[in-house]
Amino acid sequence: MKKELTISIFEVVGSPLCVASSDGQKIYDRLSAAFKDGRSAILSFHNVSTLTSAFLNAAIGQLYGEFNEEQIRALLKVKDMEPDDLALLKRVVETAKQYFKNPQRFDQAIQDTLGDEGNG
């Protein structure tokens, strides 16, 4: 079995402020390369003070466009996260699953909006 990879987000980003999509992309690139090599990964959020959905969408959300849920569940673990950051990550993951599951998402959103207007 291949060795598990540990990625320190603080080390990759170089700051406790993990807010930029471009920084999230750096995490994604490492995770994607590890998964393609059949390696599992632990993402450590130690010393991270601030996260945004933009960062997490790029770092983790976009994994769902390349790997299926079972693969991600088997290969990715997170640690050292504050409870409210975990809650944000869960929302990002749920949004990403919806985003990649439903190719007609825009049509649905359009219908929803038009429906709302019709009722308004």
Binding site: L17, T50, N57, K90, I110, D112
Partner: protein
């Protein structure tokens, strides 16, 4: 040409006045534009972000801009926050530390923006004592607004920000403005959906709606901001294109503006006396995320 600027408060009327300025000057090239502030008896400092963005665009069109007849009190506040330094005045020290400086950022300046927020907002001794939970949510919200501008505006002209702390009212106002395509156009380009400007703002703050269609999902930033402000008891105003959207006390109002803003303004008012802990009732397990 000369434009008479009325008082500018961070409300619908204030934004109407700024879009009138934009409408009257948007075709000016190589012109001399005097903004006459003799009637500007009040200027909410956070509105410098939107005002500065309009003036910056005029400068890009090679116009010469002068701010004239600025009354003493307005000159004082706009000098303290560094706004008037862009128009020939000297910066005045902010003795009480209630201003959050006016700045312009390029879209790739996210690190610079982060430093600005940390140094000028979070770690300032003059800032109100906020609970750790509130401070964290507040900081996240500011970054969500900036990220939103970076990801969606498609602007080359930059992102403008400014803020003001009101100790007696226990409120902190902060505004981020971009000179991008605006929400209505962005939605139309990415989804084909044709909405009014104010309906477009509403669309971006609801449900799973997103204009993202690349490999990176999106569409959470403004919803998170809206949820936070609902809990905090503050207020959000968004102006984009010719639409105005305001949410306060969990109620939303939208209005059309007389003219278009050349981008998007997001302004938040934070209740700094908020004592919510922002702790979750049930904490998600790390094994239950993916």
């Amino acid at each position: 040409m000369k434009f008479l600027l009325p008082e500018i408060r961070h409300d619908l009327k204030g934004f109407q006045s700024l879009v009138s300025l934009e409408a009257e000057t948007k075709d000016c090239i190589f012109d001399e534009i005097d903004i006459d502030m003799i009637a500007t008896s009040w200027f909410d400092a956070d509105m410098c972000a939107a005002f500065g963005a309009i003036l910056y665009r005029l400068g890009e069109n090679l116009n010469t801009i002068r701010l004239i007849n600025v009354c003493t009190s307005v000159e004082k506040i706009l000098s303290k926050n560094g706004f008037l330094s862009h128009y020939g005045r000297e910066k005045v020290p902010d003795r009480w530390g209630t201003t959050i400086p006016y700045r312009r950022f390029d879209v790739k300046d996210d690190r610079y923006f982060a430093d600005y927020i940390e140094n000028e907002l979070i770690h300032r001794a003059e800032m109100p004592i906020m609970s750790p939970g509130l401070l964290k949510k507040f900081r996240e919200s500011i970054f969500e607004i900036f990220s939103n501008a970076v990801l969606h505006s498609r602007t080359d002209l930059g992102i403008f920000s400014c803020g003001q702390f009101y100790p007696a009212r226990q409120r902190l106002d902060f505004s981020v403005t971009d000179l991008g395509v605006g929400m209505r156009q962005n939605i139309q380009d990415h989804t084909g959906l044709i909405l009014s400007a104010e309906a477009a703002i509403q669309w971006t703050t609801e449900g799973r709606n997103t204009t993202k269609n690349g490999p990176v999902p999106g569409g959470l930033g403004l919803k998170l901001l809206r949820e936070f402000i609902d809990l905090n008891g503050g207020c959000i105003q968004i102006v984009s294109d010719a639409g105005y959207w305001r949410r306060e006390n969990r109620e939303t109002i939208t209005r059309p503006l007389n003219y278009s803003f050349p981008g998007t303004v997001v302004t938040v008012e934070i209740n700094t006396a908020d004592t919510n802990s922002y702790k979750l009732v049930s904490e998600p397990a790390t094994t239950d995320i993916f």
